[in-house]
């Protein structure tokens, strides 16, 4: 029932905003989770600032993943780039299978602590869904449509930009959405190398044995992922409807 889903979505958004803007009003809820008079609400930084920094890191990484994965997907579906498909697929798969924590361990000595190693880890982790969806989208364009486009006299570039990419767009957007949502959760590990983000809250909880902090970090991250997924799915539907790609 769409009405019900919309209400739930709005309620989740309201809950998230209320918590980020006035965390102290939720103190009584979290108090039972603390021991020995520890603070029930994270007090070592502003939760809203952390959430925005978290989202910022994820979006930057997703933008870079999108550029590289879509570019690579286009390259390997051209006749001239087809020979790079196995190699590209291997590289992208390594990006997905190499644990982000290990990427941090490898990159910190190279680029130092902070945002940079996190961005690199998220970038590598987010490539696969976008890359694979781009390839499927481009490879499943109807053969007759492509033949007609070439037969009308479109150059390879015109055909790509005005026929192939628009037809692949729904799948590419879906890949970007998956990648973003996966990385909203994954980005929490960035806090182990001093990137600003919601991981800080969870780590602070783990260090001080404060379950309230752990729950807060986890809940905010989870709510953000769900809301982002929904919002992007809605955006996709709207784009596809205006472009008549359904």
């Amino acid at each position: 029932m769409p009405g019900m889903a919309a209400i739930l979505r709005l309620a989740a958004l309201a809950l998230l905003l209320a918590f980020l803007l006035t965390p102290q009003s939720f103190a009584p809820l979290f108090a039972p989770l603390t021991q020995y008079g520890a603070p029930p609400i994270y007090d070592q930084g502003n939760l809203l600032t952390l959430a925005l920094a978290h989202l910022g890191t994820v979006c930057c990484a997703a933008a870079a993943s999108t550029l590289v994965a879509v570019g690579l997907g286009i390259l390997v579906t051209r006749p001239s780039g087809a020979q790079f498909l196995p190699l590209s697929r291997t590289l992208v798969n390594i990006g997905q299978t190499f644990p982000p924590v290990a990427v941090l361990a490898v990159t910190v000595p190279l680029v130092g602590f902070g945002e940079k190693p996190t961005l690199i880890a998220l970038f590598a982790y987010g490539l696969l869904p976008i890359f694979e969806n781009t390839i499927v989208g481009l490879q499943t364009c109807p053969a007759a449509v492509l033949e007609a486009a070439s037969g009308m006299g479109m150059s390879a570039r015109q055909r790509l930009l005005s026929v192939e990419l628009p037809l692949a767009l729904p799948l590419i957007l879906e890949g970007i959405r998956l990648s973003l949502v996966i990385n909203v959760g994954t980005a929490t590990i960035g806090s182990t190398v001093a990137a600003k983000g919601l991981g800080e809250v969870i780590i602070a909880g783990l260090l001080s044995n404060n379950n309230a902090f752990i729950l807060q970090g986890g809940l905010v991250t989870g709510l953000m992922a769900i809301l982002l997924y929904d919002a992007l799915a809605g955006l996709e539907r709207r784009i596809c409807r205006t472009a008549h790609l359904d």
Partner: protein
Amino acid sequence: MISLENLTKQYGATAVVDGVSMVIERNSITVIVGTSGSGKSTLLRMINRLVEPTRGRVLIDGADTTGEPAHLLRRRIGYVIQGYGLFPHRTVAENIATVPRLLGWDEARIRIRVAGLLSVFQLDPGAYAHAFPHQLSGGQQQRVGVARALAAEPAVLLMDEPFGALDPIIRAKAQDDLLDIQRRFGTTILLVTHDMDEAFRLGDRVAVMSHGRLLQYDRPAVLLTRPADPFVSRMTGISDRAMRLLSLTTAGEAALPGASDGPAVAASASLREVLSELMWCGAESAAVMDADGTRRGRLTIAAILARGRPG
């Protein structure tokens, strides 16, 4: 005029098209027929260079097209394929405007041309210009495909099984429409099909291909009466070749002077249709009438039967 000179396409050691030379007259419909795998589509696709020839060349109005960039060549050659390949994310009007846009026509000229083509193809601009391909019937999609191919007024139109996906009634209508369009625009049409009836119905000249070779290229009547190869007879069909021959001549062409008290038939009807009508009515002769109702002459059963014999 299109001249194909020794056109050959090889994949490895296999020649899919093997040394085909032919001259396609301006303002005519030429039909290439053959079984699947005969190389007929490859031959067609070498003319707009969707397939690069291994050897040989294509001349359009005497000019060699080999040096011309393929995508520029294709913009002046219309192309219609089975399944039409309409762009699903673009409206009917945008689909038709594809080549004019590529050629950089101004918007006003494109609008006029699109509206003109929609009415030529019996698609009400108000209802269909902004429709999307998936909202159209098969017959309408086919018409949009042809309209799109003709949008930039190409002198040459290539068609690869353009009616293959239509049911028989709509196909007959589409074939009649194509004959009209050809007369109206004077386009030189080269059409590929595996359907001999379609070839005989549309073709001023018919080329029969088998295993990459051009077996015979001539007027349909010559294919029937003087087949160059047993395969050509098999393609044209032996059992009903007399009836096929009759279907190639109109009553107007065969009419003899004199009056008849038999049924009236239109001058545009084929002899096959006239014979059928005479059998049905039990009459010995028919009166041939022009479209304006004047008497053209008469046709007897004996005269019709004589036309069904070779030589």
